[in-house]
Symmetry: C2
Subunit: 442 residues, 2 copies
Amino acid sequence: MTDLMSKIISLSKRRGFIFQSSEIYGGFGSCYDFGPLGVEMKNNIKKAWWEEMTRSKENIVGLDAAILMSPKIWEASGHLTAGFADELVECKKCHHRFRKDFLEESECPDCAGSLTEPRKFNLMMKTFVGPLEDEASCAYLRAETCQGIYVNFLNVLNSSRLKIPFGIAQIGKAFRNEITPGNFIYRTREFEQMELQWFCHPKEADDFFQYWKKERMKWYLDLGVKKENLRFRDVEKEELAHYAKAATDIEYKFPFGWKEIEGIHNRGEWDLSNHSKHSGEDLRYFDEKKKEKYFPHIIETSVGADRSFLAFLVDAYSEVKGGRTKTTEAAKEEEIVLKLGKKIAPVKLAVLPLVRNKPELVKKAEEIYKSLKSDFACYYDEVGSIGRRYRRQDEIGTIFCLTVDFDSLEKDDLTVRDRDTMKQERIKINDLAEVLKEKLGK
Amino acid sequence: MTDLMSKIISLSKRRGFIFQSSEIYGGFGSCYDFGPLGVEMKNNIKKAWWEEMTRSKENIVGLDAAILMSPKIWEASGHLTAGFADELVECKKCHHRFRKDFLEESECPDCAGSLTEPRKFNLMMKTFVGPLEDEASCAYLRAETCQGIYVNFLNVLNSSRLKIPFGIAQIGKAFRNEITPGNFIYRTREFEQMELQWFCHPKEADDFFQYWKKERMKWYLDLGVKKENLRFRDVEKEELAHYAKAATDIEYKFPFGWKEIEGIHNRGEWDLSNHSKHSGEDLRYFDEKKKEKYFPHIIETSVGADRSFLAFLVDAYSEVKGGRTKTTEAAKEEEIVLKLGKKIAPVKLAVLPLVRNKPELVKKAEEIYKSLKSDFACYYDEVGSIGRRYRRQDEIGTIFCLTVDFDSLEKDDLTVRDRDTMKQERIKINDLAEVLKEKLGK
């Protein structure tokens, strides 16, 4: 664990971004819960992605398929066969299992027994549906959300008036029984995906692959992620999954190294032709104008929502040694500023009366808070010195602090303090909602 | 299956609200997928609930806990014991199992073997985490989302500045291995909950129970559900779950009878005192002013998101025999109008050029569509007669149809047709965005 990751994990818990799951019972696996600020931030990320896909772009509709689905789908997709598996070795004495390729990094069993030959271990998480716990009632938690899109391809086509090229977007949970989860919320057994499956004519697939690469990189940049922390990594031919014709990862420079946060794949006709074969349904598309029938090729853009959450958080984290606000009592401490983009920050505004022992100030601040809170994610705080309160807001990435001071009572205005520049601007309370909408791009 | 339910299921599939899961593979269990219109409508319901809780109300924060959590939680909550179980009888010959209380309704096994004595069957869905499939790696899919809130009570308290009374709101999936799922999306094994847990002083619990009953009923009414289709049902003392001191259901009048869509429960100190006992963590609250330490009592409001989705859908469904628009070619058919509330409807606007063979009309309509689509859930349609297109929009609940006609080209205006009244109003295109925001309450 790097020093920086420790600080981010600590901040996440202290301020309510991310808690360890089941903490009062000693925690559980690699599961994490999103706290009050975390859930708002994650919702902002999901909303930004959803709007980008279903509103800003043309010809993309949404879908929300169930986590439980027919095991036949996972047979067809290849997930139940050896392909979707890790190689494990087992200690003959204590029967613990270890990932072969991670063996050197893993803690070896204390018992130090000899190890078996490597054996494939499937990553699908199993459950039982119905009253019997047997082979016939066995079902799986989906290991990827995209299969729910492929098997609904006909349903979407028949219920909409979409024509190729078009896309189906989906956000949802998926589960993989990872042997070695780790790096906080980076690799967990339960995770959330934001996936677009773009269906196009085979001849256009290469161009759309390039198009979506650019679009997806632009999305992170537009939301404020630093350019130097993002890169493409083209997946080598030998590394490609069985379904992929080409693949590029978008990687983020985490404290633990460059790691994938999104994969862009040219899946060719693999998924639709394969599901046609296994289900017996013809999933080819008929182009009425050209009188041409074909399996659309699929370009997939697949974001790890938790991974991108972590990237946004790491990217925004900054420390000012000795403090930014030299005049406060906290000047000698280290100040944290979370420079989250306007769309991503969980709290947009904080309303602060300059002091709490003046009832008129408190009353006015409360009124302003109430007038803003239904339109903006907004916080009210009257406890502690104003400098300390600014720091508390900076630490969670609040975009603007609105301070009600003595002049406010006479002039009916307040100061709007910018998180990043710390510049303060006096704004008339009558103009406040308009000015803030403008500044926050609402 | 009632006739009305058949029609609603058919509409849901035909127009892309709800599809059967894994349909091309013959379907799966009682699982359903939300299609392009369904996911937008469900998101609208979730957003309306989230905003009601975390924005309109005071002192409520959100949370998003993982589906997988420590099995110790389910031991403590009583879910792993006999209490959370159905009584099943088994056929000694074919080994099929049947719910004892549903036996008369269920299809009896063809083999007609004799039945065993009733036996408890637990409803928790099991899975295995880690490389071994044994007792020690056994975990459960959460059977209710609220446990994730209780075990995070301290985390939320310590990371926020909330004081009693306050609430924690959460939306998420839960799973129950129901033996007899049914009534479309009403009772499914995978379902979504929207839950508020309200923590208060024991002396205030009764008052808050009454307060939340009123507030929750008001929510449905404000979103447009018909009053005559909603009622409270107080749960009798004998029926109460082990954790509940009082319980009231909000019931909706479905075609298959009055059924619960939301439960409001006074859970007393059961959850926090019980988790204190089992975890060893003191979950009591300390009131600094009064120097009083106590287990907060909990008032819970628990909505079935899928059940309320179905209630909104059923409530909005209406048919006009012989048609509303007598002048169209469709006059003799039956017209469906989905009278969904403005916040719930998946599509707010449709932009329609009067005819498609006039390029100027089509161009103007497309321009208007493009100018509106980033602010409003908006649809563009040029195929078929205008009457037929109105009907297609009425059927999915589109609030306003904007028709671009020949006058539009000269006067730079268009007609805004109201779904419910069918009245048409001419609006200048320059004023359109403002007028629509006003009408749609944005």
